[in-house]
C-alpha cells in the first residue's frame, strides 16, 4: 500500500498506565496503517487494550511511545489544545451506549456537533436533517433519544459521527447493545459509508458475527496484534472462543458448534433451531 496515501499510520505505539509496581502496559509496540475507505475490525478479549488503542487513535489519549499520523500529520505530537478541533473535524465517534444527549432530539443531537464546528444554526440543522433522512430516520427527527429504539439511536449516533465530514470513523463495540439483526444492519450501514463515501472505519468489537463486513480483522491480545486462532462464537451466549479451548462441542446438521460452557451446550441441544443462526460453527 502507498504509505503517503494512508489515512492513518500508527508506528510502534505503546501505552503505559501508572508507574512502578502497579504499571500496566495496555498497548505494546503496535503498528498499523489504514487506507482510505478501508474497514478494519480489531478484536480481542476483554482487557486486551482495544479501548486504549482506539482512544489513542481518536486523539483522546497520548501514546507513551510511538507516533500516530493522520494524513501525514503527526497528531500524537500536537499540543493538547489542537486536539479538540481534530476530533471534531477529522474523526467520527460511535459508542457502545450511543451517548446521545438526553435533552436533545435526534436532529438537535446531530446539528449540535455541526454547530460546535462553527456551522451556522440553520445550515447545521439542514445538514443534520439531510443525513438523518439518508439514514432512514426522516420520521424520527424530533424524537428524544428515550423514544428511539437501540438501532435508531445508533443510527442517530452515526449521523452525528458523519455530520462534520470526517475522514476516519472510530467505533467501540457499536453493536454490543443491539440484537444481532440490528447489529448487522448497523455494520452494513458502516460498510456502505466506508465504501460509498471513502471514509476509513476502525471498529473495536468482540462480536465475531460482524467479521464478514470488515476488509481486515486484527486480533489484539495483551496489547499486541497476534495471529488469529481458529475462533468460533458460542451460538447461545454469543461469546467469542478459541476453537481449541471450547468447553463443549456439538454437531448439528453437519456443522460443529463450540460452547464456552456445558450449560450453553445443553441449552442448544434442547432448541438447536432457535440458536443455530447465532453461532459460527466449522462446517
Amino acid at each position: 500500500m502507498n504509505m503517503a496515501n494512508a489515512t492513518l499510520q500508527i508506528n510502534h505505539v505503546t501505552k503505559r498506565f501508572g508507574a512502578g509496581e502497579t504499571q500496566v502496559m495496555a498497548v505494546r509496540d503496535v503498528s498499523l496503517t489504514v487506507a482510505p475507505g478501508e474497514i478494519v475490525l480489531i478484536m480481542g478479549p476483554s482487557g486486551s487494550g482495544k479501548t486504549t488503542l482506539l482512544s489513542m487513535l481518536g486523539a483522546l489519549l497520548k501514546p507513551s511511545e510511538g507516533t500516530i499520523a493522520l494524513h501525514g500529520t503527526t497528531i500524537s505530537a500536537l499540543k493538547e489544545d489542537r486536539l479538540p478541533d481534530i476530533r471534531l473535524r477529522q474523526f467520527g465517534f460511535i459508542f457502545q451506549d450511543f451517548n446521545l444527549l438526553s435533552a436533545l432530539t435526534a436532529l438537535e443531537n446531530v446539528a449540535l456537533v455541526a454547530e460546535l464546528a462553527g456551522v451556522k444554526y440553520g445550515t447545521a440543522h439542514n445538514k443534520a436533517t439531510e443525513i438523518l433522512i439518508e439514514l432512514g430516520l426522516g420520521a424520527r427527527l424530533h424524537f428524544l433519544p428515550e423514544k428511539l429504539s437501540g438501532g435508531e439511536k445508533q443510527r442517530v449516533a452515526i449521523a452525528r459521527a458523519l455530520v462534520n465530514d470526517p475522514t476516519l470513523i472510530l467505533a467501540d463495540e457499536p453493536t454490543a447493545n443491539l440484537d444481532s439483526k440490528i447489529g448487522h444492519e448497523i455494520m452494513r450501514l458502516l460498510r456502505a459509508i466506508a465504501k460509498e463515501q471513502g471514509r476509513s472505519v476502525i471498529i473495536v468489537s468482540h462480536d465475531q458475527r460482524i467479521k464478514d463486513i470488515a476488509d481486515r480483522v486484527l486480533w489484539l491480545e495483551d496489547g499486541q496484534f497476534k495471529e488469529m486462532k481458529t475462533r468460533a462464537v458460542d451460538p447461545v451466549c454469543g461469546m467469542s472462543i478459541e476453537g481449541e479451548k471450547a468447553a463443549a462441542i456439538f454437531e448439528y446438521k453437519g456443522t460443529t458448534f463450540y460452547f464456552c460452557a456445558k450449560g450453553c451446550r445443553d441449552e442448544f441441544e434442547r432448541m438447536p433451531e432457535k440458536f443455530q443462526e447465532g453461532g459460527t460453527g466449522m462446517a
Binding site: 483522546l60 478541533d85 465517534f93 459508542f95 457502545q96 438526553s102 435533552a103 438537535e108 460546535l116 464546528a117
Partner: protein
Amino acid sequence: MIWLAVRNLFQNKTRFVISIGGVALALLLILVLDAVVTGVQRQVTAYIENSGADVIVAQEDVRNMHMAYSALPAAHETHIRNVAGVAAVTPIHYLTNLIEVGNTRNLAYVIGLPGEDGVGGPWRIVAGKTLPAVGEAIIDRGVALNSGVGLGDTVKILGEKFRVAGLSEGTETVSGGSVAFIAQRDFVEARRDTGSVSFFFVRVRQGESPEQIAARIEQRLDNVTAQTREQFAERERQVVNDMSTDIVAIMNLVGFLIGVAVMALTMYTATWARRAEYGVLKALGARNGHLYRVVLGQAFLSVLLGFSLGWGITLLLVVLVPRVGLPIALEVSGASLVKVGGVSLVIAGVSALLPIKQIAGLDPARVFRGK
C-alpha cells in the same frame, strides 16, 4: 449552543421548578422589602411633594417633618416676603398628634392652615370643602371610613372637637397614620401659642431658581434653614432609609444567600447529573469554553426566569396588599430593580463556578469507558 442550555434547563421539571422558584423567592424577599421602604418614602413625602411650596423654611437644622419639630417666630413672615424673588409666603403649623373618633385613635400629622387658599393644604378632595374653617377639619378618607365617620361628624384633634368638613385622598401615611388639616386659629388656640409657626412655605416668582431664593432667605434671616421642596423630600426619604438600612441590609443578604444556595445547588446537581454528556461533548471535540457557555447560559436563564417571577409576584402584591386592608403601600422603584438585577447576575455567576470547575476536570478519554 444556547438552545442546549434551554433544553437542559427544561429537561428536569422538578429541578427547574426548584431553581426558578427558589430564586424567585429569594429575590422576592429583597424586592418586597424594597417596595415597602419605597412605599413608606412615598407616603412620608406625599404631603411635602404635593404642598406646592418651592422653598420650605424651618428652624435652623430642621430639614424634614417626620419625627421632627420646628418653631420659627411668626414675625419672620414679613422678612421672607421682602426677599427678592419671593412671590408668596404661607405660615404652616404642624404637629404629630392623634385623631380620635370615639375609642379609635389614629396617628396624624396635624397641619394648621391660614384661611386664604395658599399652599400646604389638601391636594385631592373627594367630598366637602377644600379648606377648613374655624371648628372644621379635613381628614383622610380612609381614616374616616375605618373609624366610621363622615361629613358633619365630630372628631377630636389636639384634644379639641372638630366637625369633619372635607375628605381628602393621598393623605394616608405610615402605619395607618394620615395628614389632617385644621384652621390656623384653632391650631394656635389649642397650643396656646400665638407667637410661633412651624414652617414657612414659600412660592418663588416665575423664572427664579428655588435654590437661589433658599440661599437668599438663609442670608437674610438668622437661625433658619431654607431648602427647596426636592431637598426637603430627599431628607425625608433619607430618614426612612436611616431607619431601615440595617433591616434592609440583613434581608438583602438573606435573599442573596438563599438565591446563591438554591442556584448553586441546583446548578451543581444538574451538571453532575450530566457529567457523562459533557464528557461525550468533550470527546467529540467541544472545547471547555463551549461547555462553560452552556452552563452559564443555563444559570443566567434560570436567574432571569426567577427574577421575572419574583418581579411578577411583587407587582401582584403591590395590587393585592392594599386590597386586603393592610396599611402598607408597596412601590417598586427602578433603583430596586437595578439592584436586584445586579444581585441576580452575581447569583448566576457564582452558581456557575463549581459546575465550570467540574467540567474543566472532565477527562474526555473516559467516554469509551462508560459512565
